[in-house]
Amino acid sequence: MDKVLPFFVAIPIFSAIFMLLIGKWEKKIFPRIWSIITTATLVFLISLIWEKGTIIHVMGGWRPPYGIIMIKDHLSLLMLIIVNVVAFLSIIYSYSYITKYEDYLRFFSLFMLMLAGMNGVVLSGDIFNLFVFLEIASLASYALVGYGVGAEELEASFKYLILGAFASLLILFGIGIIYSVTGSVNMADIARFLINNSGNKAVLMATGLFLFGFGLKAGLVPFHAWLPDAHSSAPAPISAMLSGVLIKVLGIYALMRVFYHVIGVSELILNIFLVIGSLSMVVGALMGFGQDDIKRLFAFSSISQMGYVMVGIGLGTPLGIIGALFHLLNHAGFKSLMFLSSGAIEDETGTRSLSELGGLRQKMPVTSASSVVGALSISGVPPFNGFWSKLIILIAALKVGNIWVSVIIVLTAFFTLSYYLRFQKNAIFGDIGKKVEGAREVPIPMVVPLVLLAIICLLVGIFNHSIISNIIIPAQETLLDRSGYILSVLGNL
């Protein structure tokens, strides 16, 4: 079954190139259909490796630690599901949304490259390949953020580009340091070396560099300057991908993989995670409070929700990590839903300003209903999924006895609820705003992903127990089992 793994990278890359080639003759319909087929194939491929446990594909037959490997364990599986499902829904959404722009071809081509990069990051078992795929995904996302080539888009893209390139260089520098210490780029091999020879000062420096680099890619608070601009300027499906998937894969997943499996977590690192997480929660929530632009509001809320995940990871207990991973999954669902519906709203009304919107419920019933579901989920109202993950993180924090963090979690939840209520009051309910008069329901391809995501949010909330026990707990066990990871890569080959 290990032959499936390369296809997660190979298919999107092929599709990106093939679309550019065929697109010379057929520019409009073909790329849209072809990318739907591609992402659907990827979603289908996940079902093939669903219950297989850990799978390792050895590239070119060179066995690890010398060769390049791709590894799928339960953590990768969780991320693969998130990435490919959100990508599939965003592509369906783009089918109609892309008509805003002139050039269809490059949008889908870059989207496929971004997808290939993210799948590569998730599956890579080699720290340098992780960097390479991270760069592929980042480069594609820089270009996609500036896709509208308006003044604001370009400015946001440039800021993102400068900071992202800086972060990538720091990560590369860290990889260089790690390589000079351990003489290997295979993650399991590095981990084995570091377990036997701990206490190296150079590794501490690499730790800091990784924290900075991946933290910047994740948009956590001291490094969050690019995030609101980039997320609010990008086309809506890209915002959904950026916020729903990209910052998680390039930032949080890479942090988890590198710190839990490769370098190994210590008390210090966990405390740094906790501080960064709490800061992100508070700052994101406070900044989101005063926003008028709905996309900026969602972007700041992303920072705040990423804070929850970081806190969950930083607690370091199994329960905390379960909460963090569950929140990761949930956030991918509701935040893509929010960004996609913001795109629908902007498409119909021509504005993103809360003060100009209002009464969307009467004009766009389906979009309104699904975005209300999203808003309720994100602010943690009981039957929906956001509530459970936040509750688990809160319980985990209380169990550790960390009162400050628990207080921050509760406060942030209230803040989140209040500014999402403001969004609902000003945009969905209330009197019909001036710009909303001519709005109609968006076309079917845009409605379908919204409804599907809303249903996912609801179902995950209702069947939270089976989701947690089937997907989240195996991932959490993988994450905490460092020696198991090393054994699975180096043991039986």
């Binding site: 190979a10 092929f14 190139i17 550019l20 080639l21 010379k24 594909h57 590239m59 070119g60 037959g61």
Partner: protein
């Protein structure tokens, strides 16, 4: 060739003489990539530089009549597909992505080391033509900027 655009006679003539040799040297770097230092990327850059030199000497129009941006990007895609295909054929034959399915051959011969030479050719086409396309794209952007600026009359 167009006598009235581009740089002076000296640059043009030297470019005309040298471009073929540059291509041969680029090909040498590529084809010997597996047994001497070099490979697809440096060779591709060299081939791209041959055309970039031509662009600098003669201006964009003359070069685009030889390799247009569209043709460059088609060759570019084909190169990438060739590289991709090497990996997939390896997966099909050997069960491993990028499995070396060709014979290893006698060391230090040009036909040795299996698929590396094919991958190198793919990379060359990809890198060479993308670099050339990037250059053309930036040159076009540059032109737009200068046209928008009020230009001083003269010459």
């Amino acid at each position: 060739m167009d006598k009235h655009t581009g740089m002076t006679l000296i640059v043009k003539m030297i470019t005309q003489v040298m471009i073929g040799f540059l291509l041969v040297f680029g090909a040498y770097i590529v084809l010997y990539g597996h047994i001497t230092p070099g490979g697809g990327f440096p060779g591709g850059v060299m081939i791209a530089l041959a055309y970039i030199l031509l662009t600098l000497a003669y201006g964009r129009k003359v070069v685009e009549s030889k390799i247009s941006g569209v043709a460059a990007s088609i060759v570019d895609d084909l190169g990438a597909l060739l590289f991709w295909l090497v990996g997939i054929i390896g997966l099909y034959i050997g069960g491993r992505y990028f499995y070396n399915f060709l014979g290893k051959g006698e060391p230090f011969n040009i036909f040795s080391a299996g698929t590396i030479i094919i991958s190198n050719i793919g990379i060359t086409l990809k890198v060479g033509m993308s670099l050339y396309a990037i250059f053309l794209a930036l040159a076009i952007l540059q032109r737009v900027v200068t046209e928008e600026e009020p230009k001083e009359e003269g010459e």
